[in-house]
């Protein structure tokens, strides 16, 4: 999947989970967004899985630091 398309869909996912328009940038991470706590993080990951029809492993989720990591993972998973 093209990176631009991933960004478009991620913007929708963030909108859905956080209920506000959040500009998704590579450096964006939990500390930048109000209400991005550990449970919202799980809800975000589950919503991403559903939106892109992919599944992450436990260790993949554990290594995620910011949006850049997430996008890299999505583009690998959607390449097939």
């Amino acid at each position: 999947m093209e990176e631009s398309e991933i960004y478009t869909r991620l913007n929708e996912v963030f909108q859905d989970v956080f209920e506000e328009a959040i500009e998704v940038t590579p450096q964006l991470s939990a500390k930048d967004v109000d209400g991005w706590d550990s449970l919202t993080h799980i809800r975000l990951i589950l919503t991403v899985e559903k939106a892109f029809k992919i599944k992450f492993s436990t260790s993949e989720i554990g290594k995620l630091q910011d949006v850049k990591d997430l996008i890299a993972l999505i583009s690998i998973k959607t390449r097939a």
Binding site: S38, L39, I42, R43, L46, S57, T58
Partner: protein
């Protein structure tokens, strides 16, 4: 088919403007209770339920009243992470008319939460305490092959749960809601796990059985989560990854379903379960249309796949009646014809004596359901309507939002299951008197009087985005035209039958005016729904030889639009008068006033009931119904001037 459950498919899909409507309810409405309930009554996912709950929290913090929602304080104690469930419970509660206030002690403090008198739970004085605990919270020790040891483990678990219950009773006297425990999917021996005492499967089976006895007898409520997990599949239920990562007790995609079950159980405790099932007839209780297909043509027999699907609906309705649910009928039909299968069809399980109120007429369903509710002295919020027709379902939801109307899939094989999955008749208690309730309402299929709700109906129909398409007869439409001409009995003015060759002759005869009519709405394409044949008659006259319509689109003023189309072509052909005839048959009483309604003047009536009518083309101006008109294929086809 587990999607039926996972996606709450008995509920309609949320509207496109869900988020906007929610924002409006959240910021503008002084008393948003009703609007929030309406929004909650859709098939919502976890994120949507979470948004809904935020609006409730906000409204509460601004001290805006939430009536008519019933407040209910629920303490949720659990050994797992329930943070995601709290908003789902609040959102699902709205669907059942409840404003849930959820007390939510920290994770994995089950015993402290209920045993300490000054705990958050006990200080809050909850209406009920839900023990949302799973097998991981129980003092379970496997004692393989040791029956005595196994029963000691079961006893230990039950004593623990009884101690929790005693703590609640001593400190707040709230209702206790206990859940049965879904067994983990990983077997130890395999099939032997059922037989060997002390396996996880055997232990949980014993514990669940014991709970099913002691919880209701102590006046508390059992929520059969083990049964729910089996329904969707234990492998779907248990998700080790989510347990490891976030201590979620079951798969996230099941949270809306779980919350719906908790909410409907609390609604049942508060006496808000539904009490009456209103059945549509054609294509719901039997396959086919009784008015057109006749007693021999409807599908209801064993051995016929379609018939068995409808028999399953009847069987479920009958079982519900035996349980105390009142049955009624609301059908667009001629009363006498609609009663025939109940009286004469050997395969029918439902008989007239099972039906408390029998409303078969040509009025809109909202009017009829209101009449049924009045006749039974039950509230609209006690009613469920089972109807295969999406337009009727939409109309009733719009005009009578208190009535529950399940979505139904295309295939009637799934009707009975869908109705069951919706859980409208969830009961918290069962007593011998319940059995008598349905017969208490029994009065042999009586009819209720109507107070029409017509104005709302017109507004609803206008919202359906109707598109009507007119064409002259052509070779592609011919098979369906022939079928309608030979099958339609009810909305058929003359009941003249023509074969393929005769229809082709009309198609090719330039002096004959023909019309095939199609109708689309937001629910889809109804296909060809009306056929008209006009033949030249006398000096500049047209005789309406055939005019028929499918009863499925009745009440949408399609006939008015068809007449407008006929008049348009009549003017083009320099016709100055239309002649219409009503030829009575045993089935077409429905259209006895067809021409009168459309502004024709009666010129003759004979003793058989046959009536003749005329309409002068120039002055005629029938009512316009709100629909888009499309004309196809009339180029060079208009009848030559006579």
């Amino acid at each position: 088919m587990e999607q039926l459950y996972l996606q709450l498919q008995w509920l309609p899909q949320p509207p496109h403007e869900f988020s906007e409507s929610l924002k409006a309810a959240g910021s503008d409405a002084a008393s948003p209770g009703r609007e929030l309930r309406a929004l909650a009554s859709h098939a919502l996912n976890l994120n949507q339920l979470t948004k809904l709950a935020k609006v409730v929290t906000k409204a509460r913090s601004e001290r805006r009243p939430l009536d008519p929602l019933v407040p209910f304080r629920l303490a949720l104690v659990s050994n797992s992470t329930t943070d995601m469930m709290v908003p789902a419970l609040v959102g699902s509660g709205l669907r059942h008319g409840l404003a849930l206030d959820i007390i939510h002690p920290p994770y994995d403090q089950v015993a402290q939460a209920v045993l300490a008198p000054d705990s958050v739970v006990n200080v809050s004085k909850p209406d009920a305490v839900l023990f949302a605990i799973d097998y991981r919270a129980l003092p379970l020790k496997l004692s393989l092959g040791n029956a005595e040891g196994a029963s000691a483990v079961v006893k230990g678990v039950i004593n623990y749960l009884e101690a929790l219950r005693a703590g609640v009773k001593a400190n707040s006297n709230a209702i206790c809601i206990f859940q049965t425990f879904p067994a983990p999917v990983e077997p130890l021996f395999g099939s032997l796990d059922c037989s060997v005492p002390g396996t996880m499967k055997s232990l949980l089976r014993e514990i669940n059985h014991e709970l099913s006895q002691i919880v209701p007898s102590g006046g508390d409520v059992l929520l059969d989560i083990a049964g729910l997990a089996e329904t969707v599949g234990l492998a779907t239920w248990h998700n080790p990854q989510l347990w490891n990562m976030a201590k979620l007790p079951f798969s996230d995609e099941l949270i809306p379903l779980y919350a719906e079950h908790v909410a409907r159980t609390i609604a049942a405790v508060r006496g808000k379960s539904r009490k009456a099932l209103i059945l549509d007839l054609d294509n719901t209780v039997w396959g086919g249309v009784i008015g057109d297909d006749g007693l021999e043509g409807i599908q209801i027999a064993q051995g016929d796949a379609r018939g068995e699907a409808h028999l399953a609906v009847q069987s479920l309705a009958l079982d519900l009646r035996n349980r105390g649910i009142v049955l009624a009928v609301s059908s667009k039909n001629t009363d006498e014809i609609a009663r025939q299968p109940f009286e004469k069809h050997a395969d029918m399980l439902l008989k007239l004596e099972h039906i408390a109120v029998f409303q078969a007429n040509w009025n809109d369903k909202a009017t009829n359901i209101q009449a049924i509710a009045d006749e039974l002295s039950l509230g609209l919020d006690a009613m469920v309507l089972l109807d295969d027709n999406p337009v009727e379902r939409g109309l009733v939801r719009k005009l009578l939002p208190q009535v529950a109307v399940p979505e139904l899939p295309e295939d009637p094989a799934w009707y009975a299951r869908t109705l069951s999955a919706a859980g409208y008749f969830e009961a918290a208690t069962f007593a011998a008197e319940d059995l008598k309730r349905a017969s208490f309402y029994q009065d042999n299929a009586r009819r209720a009087s109507l107070q029409t709700l017509a104005s709302g109906v017109d507004a609803y129909l206008a919202s359906l985005d109707l598109t009507i398409t007119f064409s002259p007869f052509d070779s592609t439409g011919r098979a369906r035209i022939v079928q309608l001409i030979n099958k339609s009995n009810q909305y058929n003015l003359t009941t003249r039958r023509y074969n393929d060759a005769e229809v082709a002759a009309a198609e090719h005869d330039p002096s004959v005016f023909t019309l095939q009519v199609r109708l689309k709405d937001i629910f889809g394409d109804n296909g060809m729904i009306s056929v008209v044949i006009c033949r030249p008659s006398g000096d500049r006259g047209w005789e309406i030889d055939t005019w028929l319509m499918s009863c499925r689109v009745l009440g949408r003023k399609v006939e008015h639009m068809v007449l407008r189309e006929i008049l348009k072509h009549a003017r083009a052909a320099d016709v100055f008068k239309l002649n219409g005839t009503y030829v009575p048959s045993s089935r077409n009483g429905l259209v006895v006033d067809h021409y009168a309604t459309l502004g024709f003047t009666k010129v003759h009536e004979d003793e058989s009931g046959l009536t003749s009518w005329e309409l002068f083309v120039e002055a005629a101006d029938p009512e316009i119904a709100p629909m888009e008109v499309v004309e196809l294929g009339f180029e060079n086809k208009d009848a030559t001037p006579v």
